[in-house]
Amino acid sequence: MKKSPKVFSSAKEAVKDIPDGATIMSGGFGLCGIPENSINAIANREIKNLTVISNNIGNSGRGLVTWLVKDMIVKAYCSYVGGNPDLEERIHDKRVTVELVPQGTFSERIRAAGLGIRAFYTPTGYGTLVAEGKEVKTFDKPCILEEALGADFAIIKAQKGDEYGNLWFKETARNFSPLMAMAAKTTIVEVEEFVGLGEIPPEDIHLPGLFVQRIYQGENYKNDIEFEKIQEGK
């Protein structure tokens, strides 16, 4: 049987053509569901002047922080930088320009880019610093115009995927990943379990493979927990 052109042999192969100055989206909430293998492979290439779109840009010294400490990132779009001192320091001394976006607007701008919506009106951020310079229009209440946010590449991780790129995510690891997959010109997926076509029931596919250009079997997952909370005495 002919092998799908989407299937790559390794993280290194899958990310080798990402150029300096690229805009890259990276899935994950904090460290939950981050594309660990692609992040490491890109860190090893040491490309420069990247624009990164990711909710937290890594956390607690891990994840995308490996790019930050090598000063590969010049611009970041995110909603929350607390708990990421490496980013805070670089915002402060202006090595990284940051655009803070309310998290719901952030996810919707990404979704819009993937689905052909150029911009949308939302009440989120009206009357705040986020609204500065943006068009205001009143519907039932005042709203601001927010534009779609796309990227050259998306790197995401799924629990299961097949050679067509159909994906299934585990628990809350889904977060921004399917939206980013839709919003990037080239979406690079790593999976913990590479499964055969048809093994994920069609009704249970969280993201159809149409949105995926590259997929590979990942390895050595850490799946770090930021704050482990366990029932007392258990």
Binding site: F29, G30, L31, C32, G33, N55, N59, C78, S79, Y80, V81, G82, G83, E88, I91, V98, L100, P102, Q103, G104, T105, F106, S107, E108, I110, R111, T122, P123, T124, G125, Y126, G127, T128, L129, V130, Q159, F169, K170, E171, T172, A173, R174, N175, F176, S177, P178, L179, H206, N223, D224, I225, E226, F227, E228, K229, I230, Q231, K234
Partner: protein, 202 residues
């Protein structure tokens, strides 16, 4: 006798009718989760993509991919569901979440909320707070009545960068339950032995 943090959390939990949906902010509001009685069938939403949050997991059930918006490990109850961030915020922005409980730096008498930024101080980002205050049907603020310097947090007009304009419906502090209304704060209930003048309302 002002309320303890636990008593504040219990008071807020008692405001939720059976079968309501609730989003709890990180920090102090997360205490409310432990006070919600299971027989009330309340669905707790966490904006990173889960509806039906339950208590903490055990060592056996803890999962790195099962967390809340504070990035703490959680468990879920029967009837829970997972979804992506866009659908999660669609639930909020679309007005499908009944209550959100958030902390605050200041609330003013017009219901304006400041809870994400102090100019000149370390920047953390607004996270989902701006979406929550403009989307949840009711926005409840849970906070200490005074800040660490002893200054009032319920003010006539806040000068801090806003999270949302005219969005707060109720404020629960250690001194009582207040509602911003017509340029002042209406007292709904005071904690035991607390007098109106103790609250220094604007």
């Amino acid at each position: 006798m002002s309320w303890t943090k636990d008593e504040m959390a219990q008071y807020i939990a008692n405001l939720f009718p059976d079968y309501s949906s609730v989003n709890l902010g990180i920090g102090l509001p997360s205490l409310v989760a432990e006070k919600v009685a299971s027989e009330k069938n309340i669905m707790i939403h966490s904006e990173n993509g889960v509806l039906g949050v339950s208590g903490r997991p055990t060592k056996e059930t803890v999962s790195p991919t099962l967390i809340n918006a504070g990035k703490e490990t959680i468990s879920i109850k029967d009837g829970a569901s997972f979804f992506d961030s866009s659908l999660s915020f669609g639930m909020i922005r679309g007005g499908h979440i009944d209550f959100c409980v958030l902390g605050a730096l200041e609330v003013d008498a017009s219901g304006n909320l400041a809870n994400w930024m102090i100019p000149g101080k370390k920047l953390t980002g607004m996270g989902g707070a701006m979406d929550l205050v403009n989307g949840a049907k009711k926005v409840i603020i849970m906070m200490g009545h005074f800040n660490k310097k002893g200054e009032e947090k319920l003010v006539k007009n806040t000068n801090l960068p806003l999270t949302g304009m005219g969005v707060v419906s109720d404020v629960i502090t250690d001194l009582g339950h207040f509602q911003p209304k017509n340029g002042t704060f209406h007292i709904v209930k005071l904690a035991p032995d607390v007098k109106e003048e103790d609250c220094k309302l604007p």
